[in-house]
């Protein structure tokens, strides 16, 4: 097995009575094959991720394109097979599930994809789109299925419901399509929703509407939600906790408020500094941006993966040893050597 044992510390905040979801030392590596050479290394998309999510808890995973956000989520959804590590959801260990158990597992997690335009089958009506998951999960009674479809459409505020049942996706606006995607994710009564960039394809005015809708559903049903985004400015309206991801690792984990007030990891600081609020004074100054680009996940830098771009890197340490999670304050962990003595 291609595991690399990384010392981990689980913060007190994370140790809840019974987390709904528990991720332990998770690695998702994709094998690279090159014609004529066979094996050519691994894309280490998720490389040693740990966290717990309590029932009813919301968390945002923030990071740049290609850092492994979708790979992490697809693994939690049972769509990717982990290379190593554990996914324990609702007292079920994902790697031990087979056949029907795995199907049942997938029904308990709702998935809101990155792109609403690609997520909905173009030749199905709204009714068919919502009916299918019910048929697959064995709801035989047509009347019951219709009732649940009506309820789900009502919940995502598609009123009057009858007007939408026979429509095809292209007849709906982007915001309405995303509501259908959310209704589909909700229809089997999941305990956890994974929303992968649910609003990044939508217009500013619609984004807020969809985020508010998701928050209302989360509160009404006590759902756990993992919200994946690259937009830090939306996180505080939606998630109680925030995880910052860089090159396959969660490098900082904290309550959202705390992370915004007291960001610790140099990469988190860079993300925050790069996030603009609309303000005419922005045009007068230049932004501080770390040099370079995120590393290759095939051959990530030794030591801290951020070290080639980090102004605070400690020579001989950061470029040699991978930093473990330190916990400088309760509930706030950071994988950075700067906080070694502050744990």
């Amino acid at each position: 097995m291609i595991t690399e044992m990384i010392p981990t510390q689980i913060s007190k905040f994370e140790v809840k009575e019974q987390p709904l979801l528990s991720i332990r030392d998770l690695h998702v590596w994709y094998e690279l094959r090159r014609f004529g050479f066979g094996h050519a290394g691994y894309v280490k998309a998720v490389d040693g991720v740990n966290f717990d999510l309590a029932s009813g808890e919301t968390v945002a995973v923030v990071g740049e394109s290609g850092c492994g956000k979708s790979s992490l989520m697809k693994t939690i959804l049972g769509l990717n097979v982990p290379t190593s590590g554990e996914v324990i959801f609702d007292e079920r260990n994902l790697s031990k599930l087979t056949g029907d158990e795995l199907r049942a597992y997938r029904f308990d997690i709702g998935y809101v994809q990155q792109d609403p335009y690609g997520a909905l089958p173009p030749f199905m009506t709204v009714e068919r789109i919502l009916e299918e998951p019910l048929i697959i999960s064995g709801v035989r009674n047509k009347k019951e299925r219709l009732e649940r479809i009506h309820k789900a459409l009502g919940e995502v505020k598609m009123h009057p419901v009858e007007d939408f049942l026979q429509k095809f996706p292209h007849m709906l606006s982007g915001g309405q399509q995303q509501r259908i995607v959310i209704a589909r994710a909700m229809i089997r009564g999941p305990k956890l929703i994974v929303a992968d960039e649910p609003v990044s394809m939508l217009d500013a005015s619609v984004r807020v509407e969809i985020l508010k809708l998701m928050r209302a559903l989360q509160e009404a049903h006590g759902l756990s939600v993992i919200y994946i985004t690259h937009d830090l400015s939306t996180v505080k309206y939606f998630s109680a906790r925030i995880f910052v991801m860089y090159a396959g690792n969660l490098i900082e984990k904290a309550a959202t408020r705390r992370l915004l007030e007291n960001p610790l990891h140099p990469y988190t600081l860079a993300l925050l500094a790069a996030t603009s609020d609309p303000d005419a004074r922005n045009a007068e100054t230049f932004k501080e941006v770390p040099p370079g680009e995120p590393p290759s996940l095939v051959n990530p830098p030794r030591g801290c993966r951020f070290h080639p771009r980090c102004a605070k890197a400690i020579a001989g340490l950061c470029d040699e040893k991978e930093p473990p999670d330190f916990t400088p304050e309760p509930g706030h962990s950071v994988a950075c050597w700067l906080y070694e003595d502050k744990k």
């Binding site: 740049e64 394109s65 606006s173 982007g174 217009d203 500013a204 005015s205 619609v206 984004r207 807020v208 509407e209 508010k212 690259h230 937009d231 830090l232 400015s233 939306t234 505080k236 309206y237 915004l260 860079a270 993300l271 925050l272 500094a273 790069a274 996030t275 603009s276 609020d277 609309p278 303000d279 005419a280 922005n282 045009a283 230049f286 932004k287 941006v289 770390p290 680009e293």
Partner: protein
């Protein structure tokens, strides 16, 4: 009298379709000075890309109507024939970085040659001179020299976007139109590109029309702001006046919908949808979604001037 770099008056671009005419640009007016940037903000489908095409005369085949005035450095370029326009205007005086430009580079040509090409074609300089100019522009946009030899697939998205920008700069036009230059890029890359644009504005004195739906990022470059709704500009003014206190109800609601990192106010959203550009309502196009709607709003609202600002709304007409 001070001469504007650009003066657009009553610009119209309508498309013919089987469902009716799409009034994508419908009577747009605005001015732009030398060494300034105006950002055109609006929701998807309001006509931003069509406006950039209308300004640069890059027209599709199904044009139903194309009219108005585009005064560039004192000449109404709309009166020029296509030949004159190609020779003296596009690339030479103004160039375009189209939406998704970074994905439109030719995959089989070295990026240096691609950047040099407009200088050879439009300025008639030698290949060596054009490559030297391309090299200078690579420096301005922050792409290492040796990247001239590379192919697009060897560059990251952010680097390809810089190359697209270098290509628009290589003919040293006075004005560059940027259509969503950062929306497909990551946060840190976005911040980098905005830094590059600011630097070019200072170093080369280039003016910009920045077309985007990303309101927060647009403020990084904006001297002026124009708000576009359903094919029209409904408000225009200086950024320092606009951002703290937008005037038009749509501008106000649009600004209120922007989530902010450094503020606690809860963002709002605008209910309803913009009207179809094929079947536009009479009177104010925002009326169906406007909380301040009055009886008068069913008539075409006037453009009201308030100091340096202009707003197209009955509320301000007194």
């Amino acid at each position: 009298m001070k001469q504007n770099l650009l003066k657009v008056r009553d610009l119209v671009l309508h498309f013919r379709t089987e469902h009716g005419d799409v009034q994508a640009v419908d009577g747009v007016d605005f001015d732009l000075d030398h060494h300034k940037a105006v950002v055109v903000l609006g929701e998807s489908g309001c006509g931003k890309t069509s406006l950039s095409k209308a300004i640069l005369r890059l027209l599709p085949r199904n044009v139903k109507r194309y009219s108005g005035q585009v005064h560039l450095q004192g000449t109404d370029v709309m009166t020029l024939n296509d030949e004159e326009y190609r020779k003296n205007v596009r690339w030479v005086s103004m160039s375009l970085v189209p939406q998704a430009a970074m994905n439109a580079l030719n995959p089989v040509l070295r990026v240096g040659d691609q950047v040099a090409e407009p200088a050879m074609i439009h300025l008639g300089v030698s290949r060596n001179e054009a490559l030297a100019q391309a090299r200078r522009m690579f420096q301005h946009v922050g792409v290492p020299d040796d990247f001239l030899e590379r192919y697009p697939f060897e560059l990251s998205g952010g680097m390809r976007q810089r190359v697209a920008l270098a290509m628009a700069l290589v003919t040293t036009p006075a004005l560059i139109v940027l259509d969503e230059p950062t929306s497909a890029l990551d946060l840190l890359t976005q911040a980098n590109i905005m830094n590059v644009l600011k630097r070019i504005k200072h170093e080369l004195g280039t003016s910009f029309i920045l077309i985007t739906h990303d309101i927060a990022t647009s403020s990084e470059l904006a001297d002026e702001v124009a708000i576009m709704y359903a094919g029209q500009i409904v408000e225009v003014g200086e950024a320092k006046d606009f951002f703290p206190a937008p005037l038009h109800p749509y501008s106000q609601m649009l600004m209120a919908s922007v989530p902010r990192l450094r503020s606690e106010t809860d963002p709002m959203f605008i209910t309803g949808q913009p009207p179809s550009l094929i079947a536009l309502p009479k009177g104010c196009r925002f009326a169906a979604r406007c909380p301040f709607r009055m009886e008068k709003c069913s008539e075409e609202p006037p453009v009201v001037t308030q100091g340096n600002r202009k707003v197209k709304c009955w509320l301000h007409a007194q």
